[in-house]
């Protein structure tokens, strides 16, 4: 995830650690036009980004592992009784299989317990950011 000043709702987990080399003006103007075979099929066709009208980086964040096999979306949802954390964990277990878990956490402790028990804890970069962002989203007071 990028620094706060430049944070985008959806960013690579290691983008700030390994800055991309600056491209020439011509090459920098190119945009990827073709996704790898199968990349945009099925689950990945879902809109993973925030709703530009109702959501911002204060209510929606996304963490992607370096290898791209893990994606965690975190969304704060305000209920009359207090904020809850909606988490969507997407795991590409094999090149041919994607497993997605959709969860709603009422309390931060419950969320942290999940972070400590789920296999995502072995993705060190991801789990640190997921914990921090989850805390930030639940901690925001409006």
């Amino acid at each position: 995830m990028n620094d706060e000043s430049t944070a985008t709702p959806c960013a690579s987990a290691t983008s700030h650690e390994e800055p991309q080399p600056r491209l020439s003006r011509k090459r920098g103007g190119y945009r990827p036009r073709r996704a790898p075979h199968g990349r945009l099929m099925g689950e990945e066709l879902r809109m993973l980004g925030p709703d530009p009208v109702t959501e911002s980086s204060e209510t929606f964040r996304c963490v992607v592992s370096e290898d791209g096999n893990w994606v965690v979306l975190l969304r704060r949802i305000d209920y009359p009784t207090g904020p809850r954390l909606y988490v969507e964990r997407v795991h590409r277990t094999t090149p041919a299989e994607i497993i997605t878990y959709l969860m709603l956490f009422e309390h931060e402790d419950e969320f942290l317990d999940w972070c400590d028990t789920d296999p995502i804890r072995f993705q060190i970069n991801v789990t640190h950011q997921v914990r921090r962002i989850g805390h930030e989203l639940l901690d925001i007071t409006h």
């Binding site: 036009r33 073709r34 996704a35 790898p36 075979h37 199968g38 990349r39 945009l40 099929m41 099925g42 689950e43 066709l45 879902r46 809109m47 980004g49 925030p50 709703d51 109702t54 959501e55 209510t59 929606f60 969304r75 704060r76 949802i77 305000d78 209920y79 009359p80 009784t81 809850r84 909606y86 969507e88 277990t93 094999t94 090149p95 041919a96 299989e97 994607i98 497993i99 997605t100 878990y101 959709l102 969860m103 709603l104 009422e106 419950e110 317990d113 999940w114 028990t117 789920d118 296999p119």
Partner: protein, 271 residues
């Protein structure tokens, strides 16, 4: 697909005391309200709202927890499964150990059968270690009794839904009479969640890929078996235009051929 970040509480009334038995649960007022819950499914806007709805159903049925799974096989090279968990840590931890959909005995059963069945009655082969381990762990985390409600679609085993209700009581689903009463709304809920999820996927596909009416016409003609020359004649455009439009469509869908693109669109109910 996004959901609103602010919403009302799923149920303002205090949470009902868990029923001591399924017989009590099916005679309760909350059980009678299940139809209202099922009727709300098509209007659910986001996953968080669906989780709330699932949670309400769990409470109405006096169960401990529930999970709804939607399995999708796009083609031979891509399959995916989404699990929607009711509140509570047990099931989330249990599924944390699942590294492949093939290791989920409940989903495995749902993929091959139509009728509801209790988890303890599943025939899991001795050499299916991961599935047997899953069932043993389910009992350990307090999921002592569970029942599976499969839901299928016209796409056969490529589109399978599964609702699993669980209880921390060992023989919660043992009564045949109560189970018969439970099966109607639970099967309906499984089916409608399955339908709802498919409608969402279809909508996401159309929005993400931004299909044009002309591309849909081309895909339909391709499915009917028309040649490129024939399509060009029908649409009054050069053959090269047809080819380039299909190439663009395949690129946006992330598939390698016209045939795969058409199969994908058909499997999602777009054409």
């Amino acid at each position: 697909m996004n959901c609103s970040t602010s919403r009302t509480e799923p149920s303002d009334a205090p949470e009902p005391t868990p029923a001591t038995s399924l017989e009590n649960a099916v005679q309760s007022a909350s059980f009678a309200g299940l139809n209202r819950l099922i009727a709300k499914i098509p209007t659910v806007h986001g996953d968080a709202e669906a989780i709330d709805l699932l949670q309400e159903a769990v409470q109405a049925l006096g169960c401990t927890a529930a999970v709804f799974a939607s399995f999708i096989r796009d083609d031979a090279t891509m399959r995916s499964c989404r699990y929607l968990f009711s509140r509570g840590p047990g099931l989330r931890q249990l599924y944390g150990t699942v590294s492949s959909t093939a290791d989920d005995p409940w989903l495995h059963y749902a993929g091959q059968h139509f009728e509801p069945r209790r988890s303890r009655e599943l025939d899991v082969p001795l050499d299916a270690h991961a599935r047997r381990s899953f069932l043993a762990q389910a009992a350990e985390i307090g999921f002592r009794d569970a029942i599976i409600f499969p839901s299928h679609s016209v796409n056969g085993p490529s589109r399978v839904g599964m609702l699993c209700l669980g209880s921390d009581q060992a023989d919660y689903f043992a009564s045949p009479d109560a189970l018969a009463l439970l099966s109607v709304p639970a099967s309906a809920m499984s089916f409608h969640l399955h339908v709802w999820w498919h409608a969402r996927l279809r909508s996401d596909l159309v929005n993400r890929v931004r299909l044009t009416p002309l591309e849909l016409d081309l895909a339909r003609m391709q499915r009917q078996g028309l040649t490129t020359k024939h399509m060009a004649r029908v649409l009054g455009t050069p053959i090269n235009t047809i080819d380039s439009r299909f190439a663009r469509l395949c690129r946006r869908l992330g598939v390698g051929s016209r045939r795969a693109a058409v199969e994908l669109l058909h499997s999602y109910g777009v054409i």
